[in-house]
């Protein structure tokens, strides 16, 4: 797994500033960790192009590298699978699934996700994330919305994106993390 630091983050002009990009190594990487996240932005924005060795979920977890020891995550989801729309919820869990589960995940057909984590450095509020996921497989697939909550007032300084079911990210998988700055940042 290659983790590429951003360049010249201090000389940015726009609001969306690249922080880091990770690429799967095609053999063994089932979790990509983003750590030491700069605390100087308003929001975080994650763009995921996922290709994994087999079907399975795409997960965000290990907040602040707690080893998923805390069941203080929950999420509410909305899914369309081509024939119906459904909604579900998972409470008091250790991970937040960004996809419906085993209906997605492939080494050839990508799952794409955009994840917004608002006010991630704030130490007064719990953290809320919004994600929008697309995975179309020419006759199957899903589109998926998710609102997730990490019940912690700690600033978010690290997390990981991982595959389930012992899959690994292929060499064409790419995950980019951006900071979204506001005025005076």
């Amino acid at each position: 797994m290659a983790l590429l630091p951003s360049v010249a983050a201090g000389s940015m002009h726009g609001a969306v500033v690249p922080i880091a990009t990770a690429i799967g190594n095609g053999t063994s990487t089932s979790a990509i960790v983003f750590s030491n996240i700069p605390q100087i932005y308003q929001d975080l924005y994650l763009v995921i192009y996922s290709l994994q060795s087999g079907a399975g979920s795409l997960i965000i977890d290990n907040f602040n590298l707690d080893g998923d020891a805390n069941s203080n995550r929950s999420y509410t989801k909305l899914q369309g699978d081509g024939s119906s729309a459904t909604s579900g919820r998972v409470t008091s869990t250790t991970t937040i699934s960004l996809t419906p589960g085993y209906s997605t995940g492939s080494s050839t057909i990508p799952t794409t996700a955009q994840v917004h984590i608002l006010n991630y450095a704030n130490t007064s509020t719990y953290k809320t994330l919004l994600s929008r996921v697309a995975a179309d497989a020419n006759g199957s697939g899903t589109t998926f919305l998710n609102v997730g909550m990490w019940a912690s007032t700690s600033a978010l300084s690290a997390f990981q994106i991982s595959t389930a079911s012992a899959n690994y990210f292929t060499a064409n998988a790419r995950i980019s993390l951006y900071g979204v700055r506001t005025v005076n940042q």
């Binding site: 002009h13 726009g14 609001a15 969306v16 308003q42 929001d43 929950s74 999420y75 509410t76 989801k77 909305l78 899914q79 369309g80 119906s84 729309a85 459904t86 909604s87 579900g88 919820r89 409470t91 008091s92 917004h116 608002l118 006010n119 704030n122 007064s124 509020t125 719990y126 809320t128 994330l129 919004l130 929008r132 919305l145 998710n146 609102v147 997730g148 909550m149 019940a151 007032t153 979204v180 700055r181 506001t182 005025v183 005076n184 940042q185």
Partner: protein
Amino acid sequence: MSMFPIATAQGNGSSAIFFNNIPQNFTHLQIRILGRGGTSSTSSNLYHNINAGGSTYSNHQLYGNGSSAGSSYNTALLYLFFGTAFPAASSTANIMGAFIIDWLDYTNTNKYKTCRVLGGNDQNGSGLVQLSSGLIQTTGAITSFFVDTEGSFTTTTTVQLYGIQSSPTTGA
């Protein structure tokens, strides 16, 4: 595409949050809200008005409430209305709701204005996620707006406004 911060605001617990004199030199606007309502309930709604106007507003919602998916719409409103948007005073402390609103081609004076909304809140047992649209039937450029909720936004609420540029070369 380049996005630039325009302004930021916080809730004060007593009034709506206004943005005025919006620059007219961008192509699109994006509003990013992390909010919580002050009303004595476990949820509050988002109200969104443009140019302090009474024009005809309408919107559609596609939502999931954790047990079922649904869709709804509103017409002939004096503001855009997005239901069950934020936690409120009776919710567990510190839980917030998030909304991202995109207004496209907001300075164009030849067509009505439309927005795309992604938002939701999860309260570990309740909450709602939604993908919504909004329409205001005015051709006027968007120069100001407010966002509000029942009981007003708490002081932990933050609202960010961004402008999104097009490429002068390609228009992309």
